[in-house]
Symmetry: C2
Subunit: 380 residues, 2 copies
Amino acid sequence: MTSRGVRHDSMRARNLAVVLAAIHRSGPHTRAALAERTGLTKTTVSSLVADLLEAGAVTEGGAVRGGERGRPGVAVRLSGRRVAALGLEVNIDYLAACVVDLTRTVRLRRTVRADNRNSDPALVLTGLRDLVKETVAQAEAEGLRIAGGALAVPGTVEDGVLRNAPHLGWRDVRVADLVELPFAVDNEANLAALGELWFGCRDADFLYVSGEIGIGAGLVVAGEVFRGTFGLAGELGHVVVAGDGPACRCGGRGCLEVYAGQDALLGALPSVSELVDRLKAGDRQAMETCERAGRALGVALTSAVHLLDPGRIVLGGIYEPLFPWVAGPVAEVLEARLAPMRGAPPSVVVSRIGGDAAVLGAAGLVIQQVIAEPGRMLGL
Amino acid sequence: MTSRGVRHDSMRARNLAVVLAAIHRSGPHTRAALAERTGLTKTTVSSLVADLLEAGAVTEGGAVRGGERGRPGVAVRLSGRRVAALGLEVNIDYLAACVVDLTRTVRLRRTVRADNRNSDPALVLTGLRDLVKETVAQAEAEGLRIAGGALAVPGTVEDGVLRNAPHLGWRDVRVADLVELPFAVDNEANLAALGELWFGCRDADFLYVSGEIGIGAGLVVAGEVFRGTFGLAGELGHVVVAGDGPACRCGGRGCLEVYAGQDALLGALPSVSELVDRLKAGDRQAMETCERAGRALGVALTSAVHLLDPGRIVLGGIYEPLFPWVAGPVAEVLEARLAPMRGAPPSVVVSRIGGDAAVLGAAGLVIQQVIAEPGRMLGL
């Protein structure tokens, strides 16, 4: 009996996911059309849709053509009015939160400026918990129910533990218990790549380059992030540009970060916006700095294209405001080094969502989990 | 009726694959145990096993414990006596063929030395067809039946067309019609990685480095080859070691191939075995050449580890005989550059199967197809 009960529950959970995925993937459908698409009976579909309506994941409205005979019926579509996801980010310069609803519409967005370099994890996480409380309260006041959260961190993550975030100065910090909800933690470049996938370029194949104090990258192939064996892939900042180059804080020499990281770009300037102002004013030294950084980025991306074979290259983080001055040298180097072997090199485009990519990707990851496992994530 | 027939056939094909995969994955089973494992009825399993016996894919023999009550029964196991796969390789210096049976035992192995540099594809493929004929005839004389073939080529492949093999001097050569059987073509580094997976280290996570005139790499993550967006990933030979280094034939500068490809290693020497002889004799110049190549390989692999995050590194091709002189410098560079950020860098090991990796991997790929689709590959 128990065993049959378990089987029934797991089958129901799977069928819930099948129905929700069909609605998510191909838009509003009648129950009859959903039955046809999923191979489930109309009775089963009606019962599953009732649960999804009850949980606020879908809504009814509008007549659409559907069912075997093309008769119009009541359409069931994803609802943006109740189920939502919490995206969070600990960046070197700020804490960020956002709330995204099930239709992937951004509902709330908050940023708190902070200097988190070489910071005390406990203090920063207390600040983040306050931000979470405020954000969740505001979302709830708008009738939203947070199904889960995800956090983007500028470092390597294993099993919910932030192993090493060199610019924060954090090692082995457990960050998986920030909210009493399903919660995920991931590297900011991976989540920014997902942000670009769902909220930005919406392309299925690209390498997202996250320029910050460190330089990360997230490769998306056929809509999935490539993570490598231990989840550490995409460390573009320590790809070698010149084997005998200047020492890098990682212990290597001539890494990309030495030439094109935020510190190298800013020099003595206080901020990226100050650098942009000087570039706009035609400041020669600023132009040369960007040209040099762009060429180094081009060399590192040459190696990345040879190894990872991305569809296109999306420049984000600080390379988004600097794109007009950095993209040219990058594209030139790629063209010179890649064209003879590969024909046209991957195109280089600017991120559509800039600094929001990671926090939006974090929320998007939760939405993906809700679509994949509505039973678990919505308590159905 | 037709539609039901199609459904029935495709279900039967899927069930055949399920049963064969269960036998392949976890060894000999009785029909009763197979029914339990697969969730199929005993009648269905018996009928499927009868087809697999008829096709020579499985064999009976030996009593094993099985079934719900643990009674001994007749075991069904993979048979190495009939179904086999043809592996082929066009290398710069030779043509190779092998036959591997369904238990992944190597049954035949042939190599024909040839100088295929800047060769006429039509002539080389004629030679390859002759090799195929002889090899298939010999396999058939041993009672084997070739289910399909696969060819490893030193270049980039798209849809059965060899797009660019710079050392052969071939561009856009169709090689998919060498035998009237299911046939696949792939890059030699990818197939060598699969060869290492199935016939060599048998590890599930590693980067296979194929040192030849060009230097390729095949990344295996969780037992699957990572191919990138267009199937062009793993071009380790053109990863940049020094941005301002010597010109490479690819149009770039300071690529790994310039420092550690076969031409750089041999210089004026006629062969790798001559180089090995000099190294064994303690020839200083030969030692320095290997040391330099090893250090360059270490720098390129540093970038590869940061981007691809492999489990370990397997050195194959010409790095297999040169391993005692190359591995030390590689490991030293990886340790110096990676340890501070990653802890222990991936270990560097020698290929267990050396120059046979690609041709064995090609045959292994066909065996994988037979296990995945016995219906199609065995005409069931």
